[in-house]
Symmetry: C2
Subunit: 333 residues, 2 copies
């Protein structure tokens, strides 16, 4: 938990966070400002995506906000220059949207990522770049827990494009010696997540339903296993990856304690002190891209960077429910 010694290195550093007004990016920005870094957040503020100016309310006067999309490549050379560390979190994250509008997913998650790396290679080849990848690229698990050597076999367009995006980062290290790291995130929850619609993850949506007193619909038997991380733990993984030299050129799983969706929902109801759920049949379009049970092996990042999750599910959920009860007006559509 106590990484504060290592984090001293962030003092005075120039940081860029792409997707910095989004869920994880904004939590990261708040922590970085606290550590004395100079932070620029880049975000497209697309209406249906996760960018939200309220997310950076606590640091509004202490960060530089730059509105641009990863597809807006012409401003990139200036934006990437003179940054010590770039946290590259911008992306299209909805699996369902990637199937209904695959071209947009490709433009954001592949085309832009390659242009970003090309630009960084030309204008700032020494910067540490930490890329937000996803466990989604593994597809259905062939064994559990899934380690980094597990075959890559994505089950939707978003997974294919995120794979290419991650591999570009690895390749620019292998070929050009660039200082890239990729973190394969699992389900993450916590304050500052998009709550306007249900297409960016089931956890925030369930939390919203409970706060509104509505019944959660759980697909199938609810026995599907997932591992989930509270956002503060994920922020730690990014921060460690941003300063530890051992991380250069590496790919790391994050991960947490496995739990069934049914048990997760029961815990949510417990924390919320009330709530109901109902089991419903799996919808066809979700069944096709569902990945069954999944939990990751995070031994590699634990051994190499000393990271592990520290926030218990109950503690994380408590903080999350508190946050949205208090700030609901800034997150509900």
């Amino acid at each position: 938990m106590n990484y504060e010694n290592q984090y001293q290195k962030y003092r005075g550093k120039n940081i860029l966070i792409t997707g910095g007004l989004g869920f994880i990016g904004s939590n990261l920005a708040i922590k970085l400002v606290d550590l004395g870094a100079h932070v620029m957040v880049l975000d497209s503020m697309i209406d249906t995506y996760g960018g939200n100016l309220f997310n950076i309310e606590p640091i509004r006067e202490k960060v530089q906000v730059n509105i641009s999309d990863m597809r807006d490549i012409f401003g990139l050379p200036y934006l990437l220059k003179n940054k010590d560390i770039i946290f590259n979190l911008a992306g299209q994250v909805s699996h369902i949207d990637s199937m209904t509008d695959p071209e947009t997913d490709l433009a954001i998650n592949c085309v832009s990522q390659l242009a970003f790396l090309q630009t960084a290679h030309q204008h700032n080849p020494a910067a540490r770049i930490v890329f937000a990848s996803t466990r989604q690229i593994y597809g259905r698990s062939k064994y559990l827990p899934v380690n980094e050597d597990h075959p890559i076999n994505p089950t939707d367009i978003n997974g294919i494009n995120k794979t290419a995006g991650e591999w570009y980062h690895k390749l620019y290290h292998d070929i050009y010696g660039m200082n890239t790291v990729a973190l394969r995130l699992t389900n993450t929850f916590g304050p500052r997540q998009l709550m306007k619609h249900s297409k960016q993850g089931f956890i925030p949506w369930f939390i919203r339903l409970l706060i509104e007193g509505k019944t959660i619909q759980l697909f199938g038997t609810g026995e599907q296993i997932r591992d989930i991380n509270f956002v503060d733990d994920v922020v730690d993984a990014f921060l460690l990856s941003g300063i530890d030299d051992k991380a250069k050129g590496k790919v790391y799983n994050l991960g947490g304690e496995p739990i069934s969706l049914l048990d997760l929902v029961k815990r949510m109801i417990e924390v919320n002190a009330k709530g109901e759920y109902r089991l419903v049949p799996f919808p066809e379009e979700k069944k096709k891209i569902d990945i069954g049970d999944f939990y990751g092996d995070y031994a590699k990042i634990k051994n190499e960077l000393g990271w592990e999750p520290h926030i218990s599910l109950t503690e994380g959920l408590t903080k999350t429910f508190d946050y949205y009860r208090k700030h609901r007006s800034h997150y509900w559509s």
Copy 2:
């Protein structure tokens, strides 16, 4: 060798071959015309790529030639309609070019492939589509021979983008039930290959050097193992994949007899009746994306579709040298 019974199914079929004026596409077109199919070849005729009108000289009056690029998406709906079988061979194939101009490789090998599949899904969802993938997506082999379950781990931009292109094809089968097949080609040689420059494969370039009486430079010790296929065998693999219902949704390796580059060059010199080679140190930029020894396991396509290579290396090389001696003026730049 005798697939002629199965090939009867091609009589009267409407066929589209993307990249149809290129090396494998044109050989495939010639065979299909011979089998009584109605063939349209689509090609961009980009100067430095493999398209060559002379390639279809024997069938010039019997095929429909349509000049367009895979990035020219607006004509695609009309072009894809009413085709029974689409052989999708168009692509950027130079690994070196993919590193110096990654955006173009991405535009052709990912963006266009996704647009192609979207268009086919809308306008011709029942067509059989056979995609030309590559063993390059495996990267360095973890074991030999490499079967289809070997991890995918491309070592250059072209390999990453070809992976995405192949996976899109598989996904449109898995999700939408489209009738796609992917063949992972290994090194292929024979008549009608690009000989203008050395960036589309070492085999044609070595053949050109020998015909010109120049010395072949072989990198390293020349002991790297490859398997290579003569183009007529590869054409058979496409034809079987285009009509056999067992192929639907599948991915198959091609492959041939493993041979060291040194032995290959010696065999070329034997067939050419003269020639010289010299071992030279591995150039840095090629070393970085070289994959070491490689040969594929083609048991899956052999068991399921009955395909195997039939043309011996000596026979293939003899036909190839004969062809280029006779038609040199149409292939040398």
